[in-house]
Symmetry: C3
Subunit: 116 residues, 3 copies
C-alpha cells in the first residue's frame, strides 16, 4: 500500500496528492469567461473541497501561490481572497502575473496545506 494518496487523478495530473503530513493541490481554475470575482470564488470553493477530502481545511494552508492573467485584477481577486481566508490562520502567499491555458482563465491558485 502506497504512502502517497491521490485524489481525482486523470491521465495528466491529480487534483490533490497527500504525503507525509502535507497535501499538494493542482493549480485550481474557475470557469473560463466568468468574472474575476466568480472565478476566484469557484477556485476557493474547490480548494476547500479538496482540502476537506484530504483531511485538511483552510486554517491549515501553508502556502498559496496566485497567478493572475492580468495584475489589473489584483484588487478584485484580493477582495474575494480577503473575505475567504481564515483571519486567525493566514498562509504564506505570493501573487504574480502569468498568462494561463487560455485568456478566458483569469486566476489560478496553487495551495500546499498540512493534513490533520
Amino acid at each position: 500500500m502506497s504512502d502517497i494518496k491521490r485524489l481525482d487523478s486523470g491521465p495528466r495530473m491529480s487534483q490533490a496528492v497527500v504525503h507525509g503530513g502535507t497535501v499538494w493541490l493542482a493549480g485550481q481554475v474557475g470557469k473560463p469567461g466568468e468574472s474575476v470575482t466568480a472565478q476566484t470564488k469557484t477556485i476557493l470553493e474547490q480548494i476547500e473541497s479538496l482540502l476537506e477530502r484530504s483531511d485538511s481545511d483552510k486554517s491549515r494552508i501553508l502556502q498559496a501561490t496566485i497567478w493572475l492573467e492580468s495584475m489589473d485584477d489584483f484588487a478584485e481577486m484580493n477582495a474575494v481572497w480577503d473575505a475567504w481566508v481564515d483571519p486567525a490562520n493566514p498562509p504564506a502567499r505570493a501573487c504574480g502575473e502569468s498568462r494561463l491555458a487560455t485568456p478566458d482563465y483569469k486566476v489560478e491558485i496553487i495551495v500546499v496545506a498540512a493534513v490533520a
Copy 2:
C-alpha cells in the same frame, strides 16, 4: 553530518535538495533553441535522473510546476508530458506562462517528489 543532502551543487544553486522525505528539484530546462518537444523530453529525462539519484522516481512526484515561454506551446508540451507521466500516479500540476532566462528556452519544469 547534515540532515540535508544536495546534488550537483554549483555556486548559484543545487539541482536537487533532499530533506525529511522530500526532494526539491531546481527548475529544469532543455537545450536552448531546440523544439518544445525536444526541450520537454530533455527536461523529463533530467528529472528522472535526478529523482533516481535522490532515491525517488516519477511515480512519487507530488507537485510539478510548468512554465512555458508561450502558451501557444501548451499542446506540444502536453503531448510529451502525457506520454511520460506515470498514469497510475500522476502528480498535482500547474502550468503558467513565464518568459525564461533567454527566449531560446521554451519550457521549465519544477518538481517536488517524495523519496522512498
Copy 3:
C-alpha cells in the same frame, strides 16, 4: 495548541508558516522604485530575518523561486544572489519572468527552508 506556527500574520497572509520541520515564506519584495540590486538586497535580508526567527537559516533553504518583472534584470539580480547564497549549501532554484503587484516591484523571491 496548534502544530502550525505563523509569523507576522496580517488579514491577507503570514510572512512565514512553520510546520513539520519546514518553513514556508511569503513572497518577499523590496522597496518599490529602488534598483534591482537594492530590492534584491532588501529581500535577502528579510529572508534571513524570517528564517532566523523560524529556527532556520540560509544554509537550510530547500527551494527558492525567483520572479523578475523583466528578464533584462537577470544578471543584476544574480550578482546579489551569488554573493549572498551559502556556497556550501545552495538551494534548488528556479527563476521566471512575472509582472508583480505594481511595475515598481522588480523582484520577488519565495523560499521554503528546513527548520533546525
